[in-house]
Symmetry: C2
Subunit: 430 residues, 2 copies
Amino acid sequence: MMRTRPLKVALLGCGVVGSEVARIMTTHADDLAARIGAPVELAGVAVRRPSKVREGIDPELITTDAMALVKRGDIDVVVEVIGGVEPARTLITTAFEQGASVVSANKALLAQDGAALHAAAEEHGRDLYYEAAVAGAIPLIRPLRESLAGDKVNRVLGIVNGTTNFILDKMDTSGAGYSEALDEATALGYAEADPTADVEGFDAAAKAAILAGIAFHTRVRLDDVYREGMTEVTAADFASAKRMGCTIKLLAICERAADGESVTARVHPAMIPLSHPLASVRGAYNAVFVESEAAGQLMFYGPGAGGSPTASAVLGDLVAVCRNRLNDATGPGDSAYTQLPVSSMGEVVTRYHISLDVADKPGVLAQVATVFAEHGVSIDTVRQQGKDGEASLVVVTHRAPDAALGGTVAALRKLDTVRGVASIMRVEGE
Amino acid sequence: MMRTRPLKVALLGCGVVGSEVARIMTTHADDLAARIGAPVELAGVAVRRPSKVREGIDPELITTDAMALVKRGDIDVVVEVIGGVEPARTLITTAFEQGASVVSANKALLAQDGAALHAAAEEHGRDLYYEAAVAGAIPLIRPLRESLAGDKVNRVLGIVNGTTNFILDKMDTSGAGYSEALDEATALGYAEADPTADVEGFDAAAKAAILAGIAFHTRVRLDDVYREGMTEVTAADFASAKRMGCTIKLLAICERAADGESVTARVHPAMIPLSHPLASVRGAYNAVFVESEAAGQLMFYGPGAGGSPTASAVLGDLVAVCRNRLNDATGPGDSAYTQLPVSSMGEVVTRYHISLDVADKPGVLAQVATVFAEHGVSIDTVRQQGKDGEASLVVVTHRAPDAALGGTVAALRKLDTVRGVASIMRVEGE
């Protein structure tokens, strides 16, 4: 049975994502109404540039005053696709005060202020949904929050930034260096003019914080996430990776410690075996690998960005939030009951692939091996290559705490026979 | 805030899945309570063999009278993991009448009677959830029903039967024939003593019916699904597939027609390009590829069967259903509002890979090509191999209606110069 009074939606932001949300709300209005059980109506669209022509959107709906729209008093759901911390935070908080539910795609804001926003939603008995904030169209937040609600997630390992995956894939397949691959990504529109947020891992770190919090039912702040960008990955690193049967990906990794008493979250480039499902994720696609106690290994794959895919996720949330409004209920909210502490990077257990430039003379390997042993790091393989008095030593370790691995590298740098550390890369996914 | 009165769960069936459900409900009781907002209590377990020792389950909970358990009057949720149509159907219907919600893993029953069961759930204002019925632990029903509720799904293409994927993978990697690979699957416990339901595609067809109904918001009955098993796939077919850069998988394919006015659902072996994400799904794993208008291409991957993975899906549903009970609400129920007709296999547009044994003499190719042209089927490639008066002709067609392709093959069989049709395989995923 269909309710006839429509649910009113305020759309904040009308860029690539917002315009797609508006378009689909109009062209697929009948489907949305059937799935929700009531029609949804676009009640207003807040934009920065009102003069821009927006095909398919009634000009009367356009306003530059987002706050007035949110405060109008008749809005059931606010869809926030502005991005950035302010004014989005104030607008969302106001929306809850006004009795609206909120659908957001704002990873930066959620990673920074998720707890406060969830608290505001709960205080007013409303929903805060944000599937689109992580990995675009890929259903991930809902599967973690709901499908796996009866399971215990131990690990989330993902490619959650399309720009950097495009660049690394390019380097892998063409042998290009970082700058060259970045230039191509920029020319094709996969990288922004200022690519810092992507290539330095800030975007992925925000997503890692959100994923870790949901996966482990605890609170993980952006500052808790260890972050290394991928600007220093070289063609030589890819050559080394290939020799090991690996490729290199920028990974977001959220893990529960072996004793279950703490969690970690980190973003850095890493070698992963070519046989790992994440190794074959090409171009700007995203994929997230989830390991849980009962389900085992799951993977979710799809487009991680773009107007239409992100709009798909926003609209899925919009349908859910509207259904909840009609039911006078709310969906699963914040779940941080475990209050597990977040350990630092030093406590993460991982493996290193280390390339050293060393003197080509007897005894060097013994010296180097001694340093590893002194730090309690066990060596898996060593490969030595020498010519003309110069030599390189490639060491792959067994699993050890990152602090011990870091300490080993620092001590190696002090050896007379070690001329330089050419590269250090973690090895994951084995 | 935690409600203290527990929600009472009746577990029907305590085999590989049921015993895992009971185990996790006990060992993870605190987590489940925190995530639901109230404790859940295992109130009774209906089994066939009460004498069997069931570790971790209070013997007082065991009963052989499933109906009495369902009718006890204090059950909030019935978890049905018996399988098969009866007595499961009657038990579930009674559960709704008694005011309980139901979580089921029963694909056969849902494919056959989903509409009636959904109607019973709705009549009594209760939930019917069944994530575990399709692709085990992989979140698929919920993403299709909820995450993609604002999108338009056009295609679902999946490996939804682990037994047959194990067999086909074995044939692919080892060059083994069907019988040999089946024997190994049986020895390793991947195939049942009577493998008919798996190898003849009945299991996959039930899942295809469920997926098509949810994806297209319409009603697809088991009888609507075209079904071909994979017992006739040969080592020679794999060799042909390799020559085309393909492998062979048993696929469940649900499609919306190009004009959007009808849908099809089918299960059959097919060649798919090695570059397709489904081609690299190994062993008994399942994976489902979803194409939708806004999201684009998504893939969901994971273990499709087994006690623990299936229990994970059941418990995720249990948490959701319990939350709904506390909210005095129901989740998204049946959604068949589009009422799109299901077209027959003849209307499916696909490609054929056909191997013909032909006479090795001039003019044969011209004759064969004429038959294709007469049926309006356009040829993509032809490969001719001949020796000692015998020859084989491998024809790969362009896309055409299955009826036209089938008609072509029938006409080819009547040609004097065609000694036999060695194999016919559809080509998908391009």
